[in-house]
Symmetry: C2
């Protein structure tokens, strides 16, 4: 869910939570007192196995070039999920299973053709936004009018002005209070526009060369009332300049598939623990991608990491103390649907969850972990982090983010670790047709895999759990400090 990443990622860098809000203080001493040398040796073995002839790039190549884009609810996604399950089985993992959840399906069938008819004839670059309907069979053709407010009342007041028109949103006013706040109102706005006879909505993008990102036009996964298209930046500016002088008429056509409710699979697999098989840590990433590129960075890289971590730990030949559960989620891009559904289905199991490790921050060099605002997790992670110094992977950040599959685990009070990655060039290819394997650095991907593998193995092996599960008030304190509380109450995710 990288759209909300921009908006929801509320950084609390260097936030030190006061001890008073941590429900229980962890015992941080002697976590690894029993056998530090064994753990170091196992960690070194993992690093060697992954860095020398490891499989990360091979998994990534299969995901991107053999299955291509893995848009949730498409056949390509389903095939990649079945392949991943087979890979887990081939490694000797146990309890390998596809766990279903339901959502509305959506797929791009025929890409867009678009042009300005007046005041000049000119090719226009636009693309259907996700989870919006096709244009009518003969396309959409009409005059462009600016839309400055998503308020249903204000839309209805302008019914005569908007009828039969193509509405171009004005980001300066619509997104004035943040994109996320606007998107919460968007579905109702589209419905109101549909009811008064508007034809379609355009949402301008911001990248030079009319590059358009794949994303959704509203929150939720119901297909919108109207066709909504993302419009290239230069074409938007041309339309805006032309509107200042008179009428602008455009036309466009594209087709999408909207089959209604479909079932989607999360892929789950386990290395059962040798002493405490009922306690588990989870190592996960989302398998799905958007469909302009082939989802190499977002999140083929994370999925390849999870598969390779499973292979490497499994090949150690000795089960860790606790169970390690691996998860490849569906529906992340449409709202963390897979991980959220998993938590709903496994509520009774959450007390036994020691920690969640998630990786979804791109193919840059990995630097360590985000501990999501928890001082107890920060302190308890130090011994593991120390082993990652030579990988430049020993950074621990208090940053709280609610933008990928660890998010709903935060609301469960479970210790969550999100891989901290250099994101300098993340947006260059993010959700664009350039998100392809040629951009992924094999060394950065292998290094990420080593960091996840060593961290996961050590967390599963240590005698004591990393940190306690937090209670309601301590969680709320974290959400409040991260400026997340109001939004999560509004969205109904927190009470």
């Amino acid at each position: 869910m990288k759209k909300p990443k921009i908006l929801l990622t509320l950084l609390i860098i260097s936030l030190l939570l006061p001890l008073s809000i941590v429900a229980h203080q962890p015992t941080t001493t002697s976590s690894f007192a029993n056998s530090p040398t064994d753990l170091e040796q196992a960690s070194a073995k993992l690093a060697g196995s992954i860095l020398v002839n490891g499989q990360s790039m091979k998994y990534l190549q299969t995901l991107t070039d053999r299955f291509g884009a893995r848009l949730t609810s498409t056949k390509a996604y389903q095939r990649s999920a079945e392949w991943a399950a087979e890979e887990f089985r081939a490694m000797g993992l146990k309890n390998v299973r596809l766990e279903k959840f339901t959502m509305d399906g959506w797929e791009r069938a025929v890409s867009a053709r678009a042009r300005m008819i007046s005041p000049i004839e000119h090719p226009i670059i636009l693309h259907s936004m996700g989870w919006t309907p096709s244009t009518p069979p003969n396309g959409v053709k009409g005059d462009v009018v600016l839309l400055k407010d998503f308020s249903v009342d204000k839309i209805k007041a302008q019914a005569d002005n908007f009828k039969g028109k193509i509405l171009l949103i004005d980001p300066a006013t619509i997104f004035a209070e943040g994109r996320l706040n606007a998107l919460m109102k968007a579905s109702d706005a589209y419905m109101a526009l549909k009811e008064i006879g508007a034809q379609a909505v355009l949402i301008p993008d911001q990248y030079e060369n009319n590059i358009v990102k794949a994303r959704k036009a509203s929150l939720g996964t119901k297909v919108t009332a109207l066709p909504i298209a993302a419009l290239g930046s230069e074409d938007n500016q041309l339309i805006r300049r032309s509107l200042e002088k008179g009428t602008v008429t455009i036309e466009f056509h594209y087709e999408n598939r909207t089959p209604g409710e479909v079932q989607v699979d999360n892929v789950i697999a386990e290395i059962p623990g040798r002493e405490k098989p009922n306690e588990w840590i989870l190592i996960g990433a989302h398998l799905d991608s958007w469909d302009f590129g082939t989802g190499a960075q977002d999140n083929g890289s994370g999925s390849a990491t999870v598969l390779e971590v499973a292979r490497a730990i499994s090949s150690l030949g000795q089960a860790p103390r606790r169970t390690i559960r691996f998860a490849l989620w569906g529906g992340e891009e449409q709202g963390l649907l897979g991980s959220k559904a998993y938590i709903e289905a496994h509520k009774s199991d959450m007390d036994k969850c020691i920690a969640i490790l998630n990786t979804d921050n791109g193919a840059g060099h990995p630097n360590g972990w985000k501990v999501q605002g928890r001082n107890d997790v920060y302190e308890a992670m130090k011994p593991i982090s120390n082993m990652l110094k030579n990988l430049n992977g020993d950074t621990l950040s208090y940053e709280v983010s609610f933008n990928t599959d660890h998010a709903y685990f935060i609301l469960e009070g479970v210790p969550t670790l999100d891989l901290l990655v250099d994101m300098t060039h993340y947006d260059d290819v993010h959700h664009k047709s350039s998100d392809t394997i040629d951009k992924v650095n094999a060394h950065s991907l292998a290094t990420a895999t080593v960091i996840v593998a060593i961290t996961g193995y050590n967390l599963a092996e240590q005698p004591q759990s990393l940190a306690p599960r937090l209670g309601h008030d301590a969680i709320e304190e974290i959400l409040k400090k991260a400026n997340l509380l109001d939004f999560l109450k509004k969205s109904g995710d927190w009470k």
Copy 2:
């Protein structure tokens, strides 16, 4: 003709031509002895008129947003030419006329839809190259095979392998001896491929995010035998990786208009000289553009400069000593067709041509002039350059370039000046959908206009001509030192 710009721009920075090859030494002293103060005052007036409430950006906005892309042979080009003639007339210029030349017409009718069918279903970004035909009505569909050589014999030897296929050229081999050398063979190669039953040719581009440049697939302006499409970089890499593993099948469809021979207009206008009306300097730029963007940088900026220079000089209210002729050329992008045709039609007038000033190097800050390898021009330009110091416009460069409309004037031995511009960001938008007015800096454009106006006015006003017309041997010496001789002999442009 910006494709050859990359290839043909043979830089001879700091080349000092030995005096021996200059046919006649100019008298550089006392060129401005008669009235330096008057010339300075007139130059200052021009600068003020252009920089304070000048019209450069208004002309540019009309060209780009009112006419849009001005692809030679289209209605949009023709309308812009007629408008420019009207503007010249409105300024009070004389002998305003459209001068026709003929070429094969070409226009993009319906943009491309393309996808990979196998090994994965995936949207592909490609666009028809200029002066190539439409695909068949149902499109092109077939397996992709690499083409490593444009030699007709080698193509025929592979007839069985190429029949029914879509040929993807391998730049590593095809362009091994330079793109220009390959393009000289390209038309014959396409014909041979057509004859053995190949369906189409793909030429990969090199820009992140599958950005494709508008350009031609061969030299000349005959429509090629086969559809030729430019293919996005990431999609090319996906196809190349997939080809290593097996068969790759793609399909695409687009329509172009190919009406055959059409007439195209150059726009010519004059400020007649008060003392030597038969002697003239020419201030020109090409009016045409490619059609992905609206040709703001290339070469709306140059065209707006020429119009504004005409307005500013005309508004001085006093004709210069010699005639200043203004030219807006068509067909530059297809091979300097307009300026070449003009020279052919005006051969007998070339002895009276004092100098050519051309501007077509983009919308960056202008730094001065390229004197095209001539020491006599370099020396004679110094007094004018000195007036441009406070504009950072006093650089004189010996660089020889054969890539825009001054080129065929070099072969006439006429002193040619090509505006020297900071091209650091030229390629960011060059021939792309991002070549739009929002990228043009108003101050850089106005400064370019001042430099051209002051230079042009002074050249027309000075008592003596800038430098002599060179003879055959002196011209050939320049071409030789610029590594242009072999190419121009091969192309038939020089004997």
